[in-house]
Symmetry: C2
Subunit: 397 residues, 2 copies
């Protein structure tokens, strides 16, 4: 089949705050073929900057937009996705933002291939790589932001328990901003609210920059509350500081990687940074295949792969296909503080089954359908003019 349309859509809530809540807006990418099929993907990236990568005028042979690279191309088999990814990334060699923007399209291509072959994406990946194709359920951890005070955090944690979560991650907000005593109080509140049986994860939201000593001290101070990990204590690029931190063997494992915009960045923080958990956002790193390659690298390095997902369940679907077939990689970031936009985005959100686990959908492609009626009110049409040319007009949803 031939690709006949590649359309990005910018959706957002009416009010946007500075809270580190990625569900306040989103960029969806829809790809249509002449076989009447359509695939969807979601980027965890700036919608406007990403749209520009779909329509920017050519600067030379190394700055060619994604729309031009994909339109009219053939898509019949999984290998075509790899070929098109190579083409897009080569044509966009000098566009720094190419991976963030392309992620949505790459995911949409896998959705399309799955629909054409009538197979779930995880199964196609297993066949391509000749690995076992049995999917395993995952333990969802509720991913929420810290409240401003220990009291509010405790209440949030109690609420998550009542909803049946057996694991929860608290992040950003006040962490790291008011000294050690306060930081410890935040973690204590989370642990006490969740109870001793649940898993608790702490996300420091890059707050200590390159200061690995403070990160080390906090990790050890948090150890009495037995968090599963301390996440992003340092900046994504501070690889030498990560190495210094992990070399000191803090009493809590270190997680990072959501800032990986390329496979190499993930490899760098694994191999040279020494992290214990690698967290990959399929909507940033260039889509499903580079995420899958990081999963494979994590397997070889004996560390744990986890998804980073703070968008809708369309992103969650894409994330899950990447590592559904690995029994040991059993944790799933599950956004639990969703906007109305992200909650209504797919028709088949992932439910938590009675055993407390989440399972990949046994349906073709990603396995979820975008609810275009529900999200239409959130569409903000974009229009871009360059000189006398209109280089982007909004397609209808």
């Amino acid at each position: 089949m031939k690709i006949v349309a590649v359309d990005p859509f910018y959706l957002r809530m009416s009010e946007i705050t500075t809270a580190a809540d990625g569900t306040q807006d989103t960029l969806l990418v829809r790809i249509r073929t002449d076989a009447g099929l359509e695939g969807w993907g979601e980027c965890d990236a700036s919608p406007l900057v990403s749209i520009a990568v779909y329509c920017c005028p050519m600067s030379h042979g190394n700055i060619i937009n994604i729309h031009e690279s994909l339109l009219g191309e053939t898509l019949d088999k999984p290998e075509d996705v790899l070929r098109l990814s190579n083409k897009v990334l080569r044509n966009g060699l000098d566009i720094q933002h190419i991976q963030h923007a392309y992620s949505g399209a790459e995911i949409a291509l896998w959705d399309l291939i799955g629909k054409k072959l009538e197979e779930p994406v995880y199964q196609i990946l297993a066949e391509m790589t000749e690995t076992q194709s049995k999917p395993y359920p995952k333990l969802p951890y509720a991913s929420v932001l810290f409240g401003d005070t220990p009291e509010s955090i405790y209440q949030i944690a109690v609420g998550l328990c009542e909803q049946g979560y057996q694991a929860a991650k608290f992040g950003w907000g006040p962490m790291g901003k008011h000294g050690e005593e306060n930081d410890i109080a935040l973690v204590r509140a989370a642990r006490e609210g969740l109870g001793s049986d649940a898993q608790v994860m702490i996300d420091a939201g890059v707050v200590w920059g390159a200061d690995y000593d403070t990160a080390y001290n906090r990790a050890n101070a948090f150890a009495e509350f037995s968090p599963t990990w301390l996440e992003e204590p340092l900046s994504p690029d501070a690889i030498n500081a990560y190495k210094a931190l992990t070399d000191k063997k803090p009493r809590v494992p270190i997680a990072a990687g959501e800032g990986s915009s390329t496979y190499r960045m993930a490899e760098d923080i694994i191999v040279n940074g020494g992290v214990n958990f690698i967290q990959i956002d399929t909507g940033r790193i260039g889509g499903i295949m580079p995420s899958f390659q990081v999963r494979k690298l994590a397997e070889r390095h004996g560390i744990q792969y986890v998804n980073h997902t703070f968008k809708s369940h369309l992103s969650l679907a894409a994330a899950l296909h990447v590592f559904a077939t690995n029994l040991d990689f059993n944790l799933l970031e599950y956004p639990a503080a969703n906007s109305e936009l992200s909650q209504s985005l797919v028709k088949q959100p992932f439910q938590i089954d009675p055993d407390g686990l989440v399972r990949v959908k046994e349906r073709p492609g990603l396995g979820v359908d975008v609810d275009t009626e529900a999200i239409r009110p959130f569409l903000v049409p974009v229009k871009i003019g360059v000189g006398s040319d209109t280089v982007f007009v909004q397609s209808s949803l």
Copy 2:
């Protein structure tokens, strides 16, 4: 002084081809202060994608545009540039394209500080870092693209000799696309045209991807023509392949680094890739300070720093301030196949002095003035609407 305006300008030639010629378009950034001063910088990046980073609506606290981060800020001393860079990069943590876009603004901030302090930028950098401040002249190497045939390359090389160049780099085009014999013929033609006294550099334009064996074989095959380096034989991200290549100690030194969009990427290809020359584009890596930090890293590692510049002499000025004070880093990439746009962009282009060398300008700031009259015909006004808001309208040049 306070920053009162931050304006990007998209300029381009009327015709754009796929040739790897970065002078076909450009993005300039102008910053004005309430003291009546203005500074200028240039990005080597997609103009439209970069403009989007100056105006994208906020997604959350990690996606805030550059304009909002800079407008109204105080700029009085060199440390303010560092503070503002930290703010911009932190606010743009989740915008992959932040460095490409910010480079122009960062350079403009240095230009402003230099004008305010009435000092050239290289001198301010030397004072900040307490290093010696004597500038040294550089040997410009003409940077041109390979012709399609050995004959045309020979003619280009002869022409460069006649213009007085003592060094020239040939890149991209047919290199690596038609087998070893042809590749060798291209290099032979360049050498024969330049004569035996000139330095010749070969730029393979990432053509061998991750295939370090071919890169190794070509480097050795080219050795008889004594090139100063073989540049970018592999993809910017192929760090393990660079390591495999440099570990084999090819008979020609390996150069790379223009793809470094962050300081860490440059550090990675130096420390883990083992390159012999590190080539940094000040208009991509986030501006003058991260480039200067790479220069310092190169000094510590005993490898050679070289600018990557394929834009106007505004970029050349910014590039030169970064390493003017290092005697050993004596080569300067000097674009010699310029478009009319890039040729007319500054009022004081860098001339090659009678001794064949190029010197940094002993004037405040970058030392060159943008010729707004000359470039106005190349301006393509950009207009961006998001929903009912116009988020970008073109300021006048």
